[in-house]
Structures are given as C-alpha cells and as structure tokens.
C-alpha cells in the first residue's frame, strides 16, 4: 500500500492541493488509518502553532507609536538642514561666478584705440578716401560693449577730407546717436537728432 507523502498531507490539511491530487488523497485516507493519524498530527501541530500566537502588548504598541512619530518629526529638520546647505552652496557658487566675471573685467588692460595717423596730404586732384574702415579701431567696440548702460558703439570710420581735418565717425546701436569727432578739435561733438 502506497502511503501519501507527508509533505502532500501537509498541503492537504489546508486545502492547498490541486483538485485531482486532493481527490486521490481523500480516497486513500478513507482506507488508511496510518495516513489519517499523520494527517491528524499535522493538523494538531498547525493548531498548536496558531495557539501560541500572541499580539504585541500595549507597551510595545506605545513604543511603536512614540518611536515612529519621533523619527518622522526628526525628518523635516534634516530636510531643512539639507535645503539650507543647498541654498548656501548655490549662493557660494553664484558669488564665485560673479566675482570671477567682475574681477576679469577689472583686470583687463585698458583698451586703447589705435587710431592711425591721418593720411598724408594728398596730391592735388586726387579723390579723397571717404568712410574707410580702419581695422585697428575695432578694439573700441569691445570697450563700448562692456558698458551696457550706455549706447553701444557699432562701428567707427575715419573720414578724410581734402580741405579739412579728418573726422572720426562713430555709429552706435541707437540710430539717433552718431558721434562725429573732428580730429583737429579738442573735444568730440555729438549729433543727436532725428535722422
């Protein structure tokens, strides 16, 4: 007579077998006192295990409540500290960036306009060269661009006149502002008007 495996009976106790295996086991158990006894033993041990089940007592539950709530209360302080650290780090980075930009600007050597000397007196009958861009004058732009609060210098050209002193013509980003600098004079004169 083939008895039912003990592990199979352990599952039969709780109805964890598939339908066919359970039906076979049931048929065998109706005729086998040995397997019936083993089944009763497995069932009793399960009941005994459940009878030992105890719930946590009031003291343990109070400790759970207090411990959990105090750990939750401690978390926002940690988050606040982390946020403060983050803000401080961001401010420090911003300060370094600002200082480096500012200091770089201050440390730059002064931009000196390299204005070529006025052309030599031209031969009679020669056509005057007008509005010729002088490449060396471009460095003035860089200085002008650094001052964002003023009109930016867009282009500089030197106008040579046959019968008069050369004129430095400076165009700004404002079409209404054009600076004409008569080289023989001591001060630049500006024309600001509606063109």
């Amino acid at each position: 007579m083939n008895h039912i495996d003990e592990r199979t009976l352990a599952l039969f106790v709780s109805g964890d077998l598939d339908a066919q295996t359970a039906a076979d086991a049931e048929a065998h158990l109706s005729d086998c006192s040995s397997c019936k006894a083993l089944l009763a033993s497995l069932s009793a041990s399960g009941q005994w295990l459940r009878s030992l089940s105890t719930a946590p007592d009031a003291r343990e539950l109070a400790a759970l409540r207090a411990g959990t709530l105090s750990r939750i209360a401690a978390r926002p302080r940690r988050r606040l500290w982390l946020a403060a650290s983050g803000i401080a780090a961001a401010l420090a980075v911003a300060a370094v960036l600002f200082a480096s930009r500012y200091l770089t600007r201050v440390a730059q050597p002064p931009v000196v306009a390299e204005i070529p000397p006025p052309p030599a007196e031209q031969a009679p009958g020669a056509v005057p060269e007008i509005a010729k861009e002088q490449p060396g004058v471009k460095s003035i732009r860089a200085k002008a661009r650094a001052r964002s609060d003023r009109p930016r210098l867009e282009s500089v050209s030197l106008i040579s006149q046959k019968d008069g002193p050369p004129i430095l013509k400076m165009k700004t980003n404002d079409p209404n502002v054009v600076i004409l600098w008569v080289m023989s004079g001591n001060s630049p004169q500006s024309e600001a008007g509606d063109e």
């Binding site: 352990a10 709780s14 040995s34 005994w48 343990e60 400790a63």
Partner: protein, 178 residues
C-alpha cells in the same frame, strides 16, 4: 480606511496616527515573527511606518493598504536580516516539554511567545516567511506568493516543508504503521 489615507496624504497628522493605530499591531506582530527579536522587530515596524509616511503622497487611495504593509514589512525584515547577525538561533530557544506541547495547557503570553519563537527558529527564513503569512496571518497561498514575489508552487513547497519540520519539532509525530 480610505478616508484616513486621503486625510493623511493631505498632511493630517492625526489621520496618520490613526493608520498607525489601526495597523501597528499587525506590522509589529509580523516583524516579531519574522525577526524573532523584539528590539529588531520594533525598529523594523517603525521603519515600515516611516516608509508609509514618505510614500503617502504617491499612494493611490483606492489601493488596499494591508497588502502593501505586508510586502513592505517583509522587505524591511529581509533587509534587517542581511544587515545583522541573527540575534536568536535555534540553540538559544527553549526545548519544548511534553506539557508545553499540550494545546490544553494554559501558558502565559511570554511563554507562548518564546515557544512560538522556538518553533519558527527551526525553519529556514524562506519557510518561516511562508508559514508566518499562510498559517499565522491566514493569507491564501496566492496572496503569500504575491507578497513574497514568488510563485504559488514555491510557496506551497516552503509551506509543506515548514509544516513537516514544525510537526517534528513539536514531537507530535505518531509512529506510522505500514
């Protein structure tokens, strides 16, 4: 239940305390049975509720909280087992006497707890997980499989082996007749 979850999500600390009161017993009981150590179990149970508090904002109100708590409790207990050497071994457990093994014998709560711990310590961790959820928490094999992240077949195997070991541990096995 859902109203407590909704209120706790909106930052109502009294609602969260209500959830703690409703489920604290179950979570702590599970942790005690899985870890076999009261101090570790207390720590694990607190961690479960901290995780709940942290996850509330993304917790769907129509979701059942209990299976989530079971799953998180099991996971946290697994993590604790990995981190710490087992505080209790089978050798530390008291031997069961014939009178203690008698279901009719009246035992006090502390004795019962120690005996249950001794019985569960005779199982492997996987068997213990399955037996605690199936036989002590009364979940179905399918629910146990979902919580443990395994198959029903594996769970049945662990349960059957665990039950046989427990029966032997309780010295209640009768002589089989051929």
């Amino acid at each position: 239940m859902r109203q407590w979850i909704a209120r706790a999500k909106s930052g109502d600390s009294a609602a969260f305390e209500q959830l703690l009161a409703l489920h604290g017993r179950m979570v702590l009981r599970m942790a005690q049975r899985l870890l076999l150590n009261d101090a570790d179990a207390q720590d694990a149970a607190q961690e479960v509720f901290l995780r709940l508090h942290r996850s509330l904002h993304k917790f769907q109100e129509d979701r059942d909280l209990v299976p989530w708590l079971y799953r998180v409790t099991v996971n946290i207990c697994h993590d604790q087992r990995k981190r710490r050497k087992p505080a209790v071994t089978l050798e530390d457990m008291p031997e069961l006497t014939a009178s203690e093994a008698d279901p009719e014998q009246q035992l006090n709560a502390q004795q019962r707890r120690l005996l249950l711990r001794a019985a569960l310590a005779s199982l492997t961790e996987r068997e213990r997980d399955a037996i605690v959820l199936r036989d002590l928490e009364g979940l179905s094999s399918a629910e146990v499989a979902r919580i443990l992240g395994t198959t029903e077949t594996t769970v049945r195997s662990q349960i059957s082996m665990g039950r046989v070991k427990l029966k032997r541990r309780l010295r209640e096995s009768p002589e089989r007749k051929s």
